[in-house]
């Protein structure tokens, strides 16, 4: 199922599953990721699943590229039914003070605010990967009419909890960070909790996400 395994430097395997981005390819990546992780293979110190690649980082004092390549080529994958996948609801408030780019998007997409939000909320999303910053989920796929490029000049500070869209994906800024996604709202939920060491991320690759629209009062009362 892996198309090709090459080396990324001397301390990582670069597993290529293809070039397209879709749920089917990404599910294969996630299945390999979960299976390798469960098998706790000596010398593997990190796994980075993404849309269609899996990077496996090595501890060179314990192993090397060729040894791990052989193991991965012959690995038996966990049965599909054992793969974890949660359904998670994320409340999002699109009040003007949070929807920083909605006006810009109306022009970019040639759609009015309600159309954009209806299309955004009326959907089940799939988590392709988490990362870039801790806990940030990359969720897809948006309808074609919602697909916009990133901001030409990224913001220096995107507020924590911001929900953004770009191309076919939606994401959530787990903490304040620079970024260039089109921000349409904000969630009061904490998507990344660094005090929870076993499970810091609310959303993991493979999970299903539903966004639920809430108003400013529900937002304010959310954490009370």
């Amino acid at each position: 199922m892996i198309k090709n395994i090459s080396n990324l430097g001397d301390a990582a395997l670069y597993c290529d599953f293809g070039n397209s981005i879709n749920k089917e390819i990404n599910s294969k990546v996630i299945r390999y990721f979960q299976s390798i992780r469960n098998q706790k293979i000596q010398g593997i110190i990190n796994l980075t699943p993404s849309y269609n690649k899996l990077i496996i980082s090595l501890d060179l004092t314990k192993t090397n590229f060729n040894k791990i390549k052989k193991i991965i080529e012959n690995i038996s994958l966990d049965p599909l039914e054992n793969l974890s996948s949660k359904k998670i609801e994320i409340p999002v408030c699109c009040n003007e003070k949070f929807s920083l780019d909605l006006e810009r998007l109306e022009k970019k997409l040639n759609l009015n605010r309600n159309k954009i939000l209806d299309s955004f909320f009326n959907k089940e999303y799939f988590c392709y990967m988490t990362g870039f910053i801790a806990g940030m989920p990359f969720l897809g796929d948006l309808d074609n009419d919602l697909q916009a490029k990133r901001l030409e000049t990224p913001r220096v500070r995107v507020p924590k909890g911001s929900v953004g869209i770009t191309e076919q994906f939606a994401n959530i800024y787990t903490f304040e960070s620079p970024g260039g996604w089109n921000i349409i709202g904000n969630t009061p939920i904490s998507v990344f909790d660094k005090s929870n060491e076993t499970n810091p991320n609310l959303i993991s690759p493979g999970d299903s996400i539903f966004f639920k629209r809430i108003d400013i009062n529900q937002y304010k009362n959310f954490n009370e």
């Binding site: 001397d10 796994l47 060179l60 988490t130």
Partner: protein
């Protein structure tokens, strides 16, 4: 009662607590972090007979000035660092790779690194720190690690939770050397660049930009021509990856890297050269040399053996 502590008069430019870093968190979005120059980090702990994964203070360019309050303690500083120790009215010039006995009221002034970036300060014992995922390493970008993920600050009290039994002071005769060229393995998007682009990368020297930190080292001077696409579909990153964004100026990912990135990868710095790479100052020149995987693996084994050999010479 926390009666043993350092009172920070001047924190320095980028002083953080570091150890070996944290692993198995890439899928969550958390990089390894940890001491940038692992050899000098290991030497610091070895001089004090600490567990080799103990926490130290890492500083960049200028280190802290602090005053010690408490029972006698041993300290050591590694790297290539200019520092002074003041006791009563006398002041001595400190030497790296040597442990010292420090008494109540002594001041340590880490003035600067010498033609290098990072230095390490260790004690024979434990700092009182918060650990996250088994590591105290501070990642200021993700606000993770001890000190609430913030750099050490002016006026802070650095509390010591444990002092190991005092040892006679130790010394090591070791000088940090520089290498002429940083060796690189071809990256996974090598064919995104024109022949001239590749030639530029391996034959010209680049200047290290001031915009370099624990997350990345930006290079400038020559632009590398991309003939395929200036973006790739976002995928995982590791330390040492050389990315070339649309402006053609390479960026080398360092220990606090973002775990996912979308720029083409022209190369990856070999593990054996990473410690030397991070010590190159902003403003200095850097050149690359291409090598193959088997050679890189041998060089890493040799580098590890050399580190062990250096540590075994501590007397």
């Amino acid at each position: 009662m926390n009666k043993n502590y350092f009172e920070v008069f001047r924190a320095g430019i980028n002083s953080t607590f570091q150890d070996k870093g944290r692993s198995n968190l890439h899928h969550v979005g958390i990089p390894c972090s940890g001491a940038m120059d692992s050899r000098n980090y290991l030497i610091a702990n070895s001089l004090l007979e600490n567990d080799l994964s103990s926490a130290v203070i890492e500083f960049a360019y200028q280190g802290p000035l602090f005053k010690y309050h408490g029972e006698n303690i041993n300290i050591a500083i590694t790297g290539d660092v200019i520092f002074k120790i003041k006791r009563d009215m006398t002041e001595i010039q400190g030497s790296c790779n040597k442990s010292y006995l420090i008494k109540d009221g002594d001041e340590i002034d880490i003035l600067s690194t010498n033609k290098s970036v990072y230095g390490y300060f260790a004690i024979n014992g434990k700092f009182d720190l918060k650990y996250q995922w088994g590591s105290c390493s501070i990642n200021t970008k993700a606000q993770l690690g001890s000190n609430n993920g913030e750099k050490i600050y002016d006026g802070q009290k650095i509390i010591i939770s444990k002092i190991n039994s005092l040892k006679s002071t130790k010394e090591l005769n070791y000088i940090n050397t520089k290498i002429e060229k940083i060796r690189v393995i071809k990256g996974t998007n090598y064919d995104y660049f024109s022949k001239e682009g590749i030639n530029t990368f391996f034959n010209k020297s680049f200047t290290i930009s001031k915009l370099s930190d624990r997350m990345g080292m930006r290079l400038e001077g020559h632009k590398i021509d991309n003939i395929v696409n200036t973006n790739i579909k976002s995928e995982g990153l590791i330390k040492g990856v050389v990315q070339v964004p649309a402006d053609g100026n390479p960026i080398i990912m360092l220990s606090d890297y973002g775990t996912i990135g979308g720029y083409p990868k022209i190369g990856v710095v070999i593990s054996a050269d990473y410690d030397k790479l991070v010590q190159l100052m902003s403003g200095s020149k850097i050149k690359f040399q291409e090598i193959e995987l088997p050679e890189a693996e041998t060089l890493y084994d040799l580098y590890q053996m050399e580190t062990k050999n250096i540590i075994s010479q501590i007397k």
